[in-house]
């Protein structure tokens, strides 16, 4: 379980209680319900897509969508799944799920949040004619294939029972389906959205804890202003008078703004200030374990990386990398060496999965394994790692390659691509002739979401994000066994058993978890970062 995380969250909760008690006794307001003060200023980036839940798949728009919309369920800071719009989501056979909505819920424009609001939105998004980037999320629902190939307009697995009830039939039983339904793609849309979806995307009407402050609240490239939506009746009640996401082009500008107290919450620190930010900001600095997993993938189609020889070489490479040193020096402690393939923030995470010694640093053993691989077929050429040069990767790639070179004595070279776009293309069409950097952040809090999309056979060959085309039936079987567990803790244990196979095969070499590094101003309190490393807007309190 997530010991460290839980402790921090509980402490924060205790602190929050203490703070709100203090506020009550001071202000003497009746209950201290309505928050006062000025809007919380948070950093963000201009959303790259219209603000429609199923159009948004990047973090800039995602954090806004999460505040504007509410799903059947939501996630707490710890990654626990709780009811939001739904009163209950139940199933007898884990395949046909019945969602019962709380009665009387409405969008911010008073349109009802009823069963049809969910079903119509999902059907619309799954239809490729509507070009929604998140359409694939509905592939878990029966009838998805028919909608994809145009033989049906709607998902046969969705059925409205009455005003507040609908059923979801999955393509396969999944006892933990509820967890997934908290992802933003599963939001409802009001009927009026479909009248002019382009206009809606610029000015969305939602059912979440916040709504747009006005018709022109979204000032493109500048900021977006959100105010509490008083029609929202769920648990995520805002503790502030509003949140404004200020869009930054360069995070150095955001850092200077937080130094000057012009910005309240910053969830990233520019590399240049990584060594100095804790000293400079003191207790305003944040540095805790995060959920972004980073690795590099070696496709088995590369020469020397298949079969027994490949397995030995992968293990040797993994042991040749001094992760701790790179985390400390290159990243100034803002990364934590990986112990497995998911993230410490996931429920059920373990740092002692058998076989994870392979993620340690052991030059002698690395050399021995490399020599054993050479005995099968002598090593030729250079070992390269590809990365996109428009991201901050050059330094650590070089450090990893140096570590490998110094330990194994082989020639290494970085292999930069000018843009993310360029690197993604050669990775996706499988023409890349080197190892390449990979990273993953879960869409919903489950270890499963770190494993299945990346290493299952079903996700290989362009069907998912298994870019190295790793296939191991044994691993697939362990994953499936985990999925069929009804108890979440048991499921996690099973997923970790599947990870033992990954630690042996090393389809990707785990490197580190990216920490949550950020800062807050002197005006705010109760700044909690969620399981997805995003600061939770509705919990933040700001003094006037």
């Amino acid at each position: 379980m997530t010991f460290r995380r839980k402790g921090a969250a509980m402490m924060a909760a205790a602190l929050a209680v203490a703070l709100s008690l203090g506020a009550c006794s001071q202000g003497g307001t009746d209950g201290g319900d309505a928050p006062t003060g000025s809007p919380v200023l948070m950093n963000g980036t201009e959303p790259q897509n219209p603000l429609i839940p199923t159009s948004t798949n990047e973090v800039g728009g995602g954090r806004i969508i999460d505040n504007l919309f509410a799903r059947l369920v939501y996630y707490t800071a710890d990654g626990e799944t709780k009811m939001d719009m739904a009163e209950s989501v139940t199933s007898d056979d884990d395949q046909v799920w019945t969602a019962k909505l709380k009665a009387g819920q409405v969008f911010s424009n008073d349109e009802p949040v009823d069963a049809a609001a969910f079903v119509d939105a999902w059907n619309w998004a799954a239809n490729p004619a509507n070009a929604q980037l998140n359409a694939s999320w509905f592939s878990i629902i029966e009838g998805y294939e028919d909608v994809q190939d145009g033989t049906a307009d709607t998902l046969s697995g969705l059925e409205v029972v009455d005003e507040t009830t609908f059923t979801i039939t999955l393509v396969a039983p999944d006892p933990n389906a509820v967890i997934q339904l908290g992802y933003s793609a599963y939001s409802p849309l009001p009927k009026s959205a479909f009248d002019d979806i382009a206009a809606y995307g610029q000015n969305p009407i939602g059912n979440g804890p916040y709504k747009l402050a006005s018709d022109d609240a979204w000032q493109h490239d500048v900021q977006i202003e959100l105010v509490p939506n008083d029609k929202y009746t769920g648990d995520r009640q805002p503790k502030n008078v509003g949140v404004t996401y200020v869009f930054y082009q360069d995070n150095k500008a955001a850092y200077n703004d937080i130094l000057a107290d012009n910005l309240d919450v910053l969830d990233q620190i520019p590399n240049d200030f990584m060594e100095s930010f804790v000293a400079e900001l003191g207790d305003r600095a944040v540095n805790e374990t995060g959920s972004l997993f980073q690795s590099f993938t070696i496709p088995s189609r590369l020469e020397h990386f298949d079969g027994d020889e490949g397995a030995l070489r992968r293990q040797a490479l993994s042991l040749a990398i001094n992760r701790q040193e790179i985390c400390d020096t290159v990243f100034a402690g803002s990364r934590t060496p990986a112990k497995e393939f998911s993230s410490p923030l996931m429920p059920g995470w373990s740092d002692s999965i058998p076989g994870n010694a392979i993620l340690g640093y052991d030059p002698t053993e690395a050399q021995r394994l490399w020599a054993a691989a050479d005995a099968i077929s002598p090593w030729t050429g250079q070992f390269k790692i590809a990365y996109n040069a428009d991201g901050p990767h050059a330094e650590w790639v070089q450090a990893v390659l140096n570590s490998i070179h110094n330990t194994l004595g082989i020639e290494t070279a970085p292999d930069p691509y000018p843009t993310f776009q360029a690197s993604r293309t050669v990775i996706t069409d499988r023409t890349i002739q080197s190892a390449f950097r990979t990273g993953w952040q879960a869409d919903y809090p489950s270890i499963y979401n770190y494993l299945a999309p990346l290493y299952s056979s079903a996700a290989a060959d362009g069907q998912g994000s298994n870019d190295g085309d790793y296939k191991n039936p044994q691993f697939d079987a362990e994953l499936a066994a985990g999925l069929s567990e009804t108890d979440m803790a048991d499921a996690a244990v099973q997923f970790n058993k599947a990870q033992e196979i990954l630690l042996r095969d090393l389809p990707a070499i785990p490197l580190w978890y990216q920490n949550i590094i950020g800062a807050k101003s002197t005006n705010v309190s109760n700044v909690l970062f969620g399981w997805d490393t995003v600061p939770i807007a509705y919990l933040i309190e700001k003094a006037a």
């Binding site: 995307g201 493109h220 900021q223």
Partner: protein
């Protein structure tokens, strides 16, 4: 004169077509597939990808894409960006900010550069001249981003005299620091150009004649020395306006100014042809117009130059 302007405007047509075609081709040649990048590291849904490609005409050959765009702009349709906004809206939003910043920078460099340069030129070899020369050398030598971060840290964060970043507040006050940073190198150039020119003209025959016929010192400086010295300076300022508008990416990033530079950079990174070309087209037009205005100004400054 009317004929001259007409001819110049006609010349813009081939330049316009050539420049836009070239830019469109370059965006097209950016490696990688923009639609694939939209899906990030997640699996691409082929049906959805095909739909988006069709929507943005990306399934067509390059020359068709260009012609569709070209046909569109004659009907006032600049296309749609991947975020679902009409490109014309994006242009209407970023240009005013950038124009304001560029004009502020231009005024700063014209006023500071010409005044300091003229004083230095008239007092050649004296302490003011030497100081101005050394200072201008410093401005040229220090890269824009160093100057930007330095001023931001000192004037913005430490002293709190001016806003640290611009963001939503595009007032003259918050743009003052970025405008100065943007203009800093050009101030030095204008200063040096003016100084040399003034120093040269101060010893010209016509100035001696003007003095000999008894004109006052101020009259001589204003009507004879300065006016004749300004031709190279005006040329520089004219060309610089275009550069200030298109080349402010670094400054816009440092001070978080929502302008053309940032928009252009993002559009290039994401392979958004219509947005890039539309933004650049306007820059091209600005370049062409300012160089026309500069040529017209020559005639006003120096009657010997006649426009045929």
């Amino acid at each position: 004169m009317g004929w001259y302007i007409g001819k110049r405007v006609l010349q813009m047509v081939p330049v316009f077509i050539g420049a836009t075609l070239l830019v469109y081709a370059m965006v097209f040649l950016v490696p990688g597939d923009p639609i694939q990048a939209m899906f990030g590291e997640r699996a691409v849904n082929p049906n959805v990808a095909a739909q988006i490609r069709q929507q943005y005409h990306l399934d067509q050959p390059f020359i068709n894409q260009y012609l569709i765009w070209l046909g569109g702009i004659f009907q006032g349709d600049f296309g749609t960006s991947f975020s679902g906004r009409p490109v014309i809206d994006e242009i209407a939003q970023v240009y005013p900010t950038t124009v304001r910043l560029a004009l502020m920078a231009l005024v700063l460099e014209a006023v500071l550069g010409v005044v300091l340069g003229a004083v230095a030129g008239l007092r050649r070899g004296r302490w003011f001249d030497s100081t101005a020369l050394v200072l201008s050398l410093l401005l040229i030598a220090v890269p824009t981003f160093v100057m930007g971060f330095l001023l931001q840290a000192v004037v913005g964060v430490k002293l709190k005299w001016l806003p640290v970043t611009v963001g939503a507040d595009v007032s003259l006050r918050s743009l003052l620091m970025p405008a100065f940073v943007l203009a800093s190198v050009s101030i030095a150039y204008v200063l040096r150009l003016t100084r040399t020119s003034v120093a040269e003209n101060a010893q010209a025959d016509f100035v001696r004649t003007a003095r000999a016929k008894g004109l006052g010192a101020g009259q001589v400086v204003r009507r004879h020395i300065l006016r004749n010295s300004l031709i190279p300076v005006v040329t520089f300022l004219g060309v610089d306006l275009g550069a200030l508008m298109g080349g402010a990416i670094v400054t816009e990033g440092i001070f978080n100014i929502p302008g053309v530079g940032n928009k252009l950079f993002q559009a290039i990174i994401r392979g958004q042809g219509p947005t890039v070309v539309s933004l650049v087209t306007i820059l091209v037009l600005v370049f062409m117009l300012t160089s026309l205005i500069v040529d017209l100004l020559y005639a006003a400054l120096d009657p010997r130059i006649r426009l045929v």
